[in-house]
């Protein structure tokens, strides 16, 4: 059964000289997952994905994509797999259409109608006869998606697909990923954006300095985070006094001109009534959904105090 897994990597290690870029990483992606591979800059996300795609040889460990090892089976192991690492690249002196036709030929297919369909999908049909050398970053990114979909993949590996896109481009890219997942494509996407992973992914692995510090369901991770609320008011002092006196409200702190506290929903409802009765104006009373962010920071930077050297390194970076 395990050989049916889209991705199953065990004990992946990649060493560059002195640097252990990826350190005993296990990754399991199941059919239908939208799997988020989360980590800060230099954590080893791209290096991991390169190993999965057979581009670099792991120093140690094994990889199976639908049961086949790309470092043993070669291109055959990539049947049904598509994606890109570190931004898609193309031949700058060929047009987008020609680039796609070249890649289709490398896949044993040359369906022009499919190419047109995909250019339409990524909104590049009008620009398809322009050389890719003149493409903007966002256009290249979209063409990269088209190039990946040309293979009609069952598994998509995307390395920071929204990096460098403008807000509209990010939204479109996320919509597309969601749509593809809806069509049954398994997706593994790396990111350093929590909101993105939160929005798209059902499962996550968090990597820090080459090591996985969390792997599992996103929901479980969120559940471990304490739920908090944030209150904003023009009369912060009075509001704070009221909060401290209110039952069911704890850990009240002032942060950046607003108040943070822990409470369950009932207590918050009661609080809003109390605030109204005390004629204290409220400009915002919102649940703290950024708790994943805090969790993430805690996990990826928590062990920072490993001695001065480590601290200095971080400071330079």
């Amino acid at each position: 059964m395990s050989h049916e897994l889209p991705v199953s990597a065990r004990g992946l290690v990649k060493v560059y000289g002195e640097l252990v870029a990826v350190d005993h990483v296990d990754l399991t992606v199941e059919k239908g997952d939208v799997f988020g591979y989360l980590g800060p800059n230099g954590a080893g996300k791209t290096t991991s994905l390169r190993m999965l795609l057979g581009l670099i040889r792991p120093t140690e460990g094994s990889i199976e994509l639908f049961g086949r090892d790309p470092h043993v089976a070669g291109a055959k192991a990539l049947d049904g797999v598509a994606g890109f690492v570190e931004g898609p690249t193309f031949y700058p002196y060929l047009t987008a259409r020609r680039n796609l036709r070249l890649l289709a030929a490398y896949d044993d297919g040359d369906s022009r109608s499919r190419i047109e369909e995909l250019l339409e999908l990524v909104e590049l049909r009008d620009r398809g006869d322009d050389k890719v050398g003149g493409y903007s970053h966002g256009m290249r990114q979209r063409l990269g998606i088209a190039a990946a979909l040309l293979r009609e993949p069952k598994l998509l590996l995307l390395d920071e697909p929204t990096t460098g896109l403008d807000p509209a481009g990010m939204r479109d890219m996320r919509d597309l990923v969601r749509r593809l997942a809806g069509e049954g494509i398994t997706v593994l996407l790396s990111s350093h954006l929590l909101t993105e992973v939160e929005e798209l992914c059902n499962r996550v692995a968090i990597i820090r300095k080459g090591r996985i510090v969390y792997e599992g369901r996103l929901r479980d991770l969120l559940a471990t985070a304490a739920t908090g609320f944030r209150l904003r008011s023009p009369e912060l002092e009075r509001a704070k006094a009221l909060l401290l006196a209110q039952p069911g409200i704890g850990e009240v702190t002032s942060v950046d001109g607003s108040l943070r506290f822990q409470a369950d929903e009932e207590a918050v409802a009661a609080l809003s009534i109390a605030l109204g009765q005390a004629r204290i104006g409220v400009t915002a009373l919102v649940p703290e959904t950024a708790s994943l962010e805090e969790l993430f920071l805690g996990m990826t930077e928590g062990e920072r105090v490993e001695g001065e050297v480590a601290a200095k390194e971080e400071a330079v970076a």
Binding site: G54, L55, E86, D108
Partner: protein, 272 residues
């Protein structure tokens, strides 16, 4: 397998045809014989101390042979290196290896397609130069019998056959330079370094051949094989240099190609 390599080959050619350096190389290969003939038409005197140089104005057939001689020193090696040194390095430069190596082609098939494309380019450059030289020479001096290196007269038709055979043999040492360029291109991942490096290799092979004390190894130097075609222009034909060129060049081609193949199969495709 063959169909798979064929597809890669086809697109490697398409890529070459979309790049300026390919045209730079091929146009140089065509311009050199034209300029050569034009200069000789405008001037008196000629290249009397090179093979067939004395007969340059007797027949257009002599022109391509004389051009071959001059171009062997660095002209054609440079034209060859220009593309051979770039064929893998350009993929590194554009970071496109990751794009094509994550499709359905094995690395070996991609590599084979590239080798074939480089050899095709080299072949076209040699024949374009030879045939344009013949055409230019014929326009200038007519298509008449050729005086062979043994002093006998060879009919025009026969002479043309000898030219084609000579170009084919002349292609072999150039293919050796192409193979060396391909190896550098794979190992250094740097186009300029590979072009310069292969040209240096070609010049070194020529230099070794003219230094004193190298007589014993001279027959096996790559540069020497550029003269193998002289064998065809003797009566009777002297097959010794031709046969030697065949196996010596086979080594100069296969060893770098095999080394490049192994590197290409194993290399990490990572940002540099």
């Amino acid at each position: 397998m063959i169909a798979a390599v064929g597809k890669v080959y086809e697109w490697e050619l398409a890529k070459l045809l979309a790049q300026k350096r390919t045209y730079l190389g091929l146009i140089s290969a065509i311009l050199v014989p034209i300029v050569f003939v034009v200069v000789l038409v405008l001037q008196t005197g000629g290249p009397n101390d090179v093979p067939l140089g004395r007969y340059i104005r007797d027949t257009g057939l002599a022109a391509p042979f004389v051009v071959l001689f001059f171009m062997s020193i660095w002209g054609l090696p440079l034209i060859t290196a220009l593309v051979a040194g770039d064929i893998v390095a350009a993929e590194s430069h554009n970071d496109t290896l990751k794009t094509i190596l994550t499709r359905s082609r094995d690395r070996g098939q991609v590599f084979a397609g590239k080798v074939l494309a480089v050899l095709t380019y080299t072949f076209v450059a040699v024949f374009a130069m030879g045939l344009v030289g013949l055409l230019a020479g014929t326009i200038a001096w007519g298509f008449h019998p050729l005086t062979s290196l043994s002093g006998t007269k060879v009919s025009g038709g026969h002479g043309f056959g000898l030219l084609v055979a000579s170009l084919a043999v002349y292609f072999l040492p150039l293919a050796g330079i192409a193979a060396f360029g391909l190896l550098l291109s794979t190992v250094t991942r740097n186009s300029a370094a590979s072009v310069v490096g292969s040209l240096m290799f070609a010049l070194l092979m020529q230099l070794l051949g003219v230094l004193p004390g190298t007589e014993s190894i001279r027959p096996y130097l790559l540069g020497t094989q550029f003269e193998a075609w002289h064998g065809f222009l003797r009566t009777p034909a002297d097959w010794v240099p031709v046969i030697r060129a065949l196996w010596v060049c086979a080594l100069y081609i296969s060893i770098p190609v095999a080394a490049a193949y192994l590197v290409f199969l194993r290399r990490d495709v990572a940002s540099q």
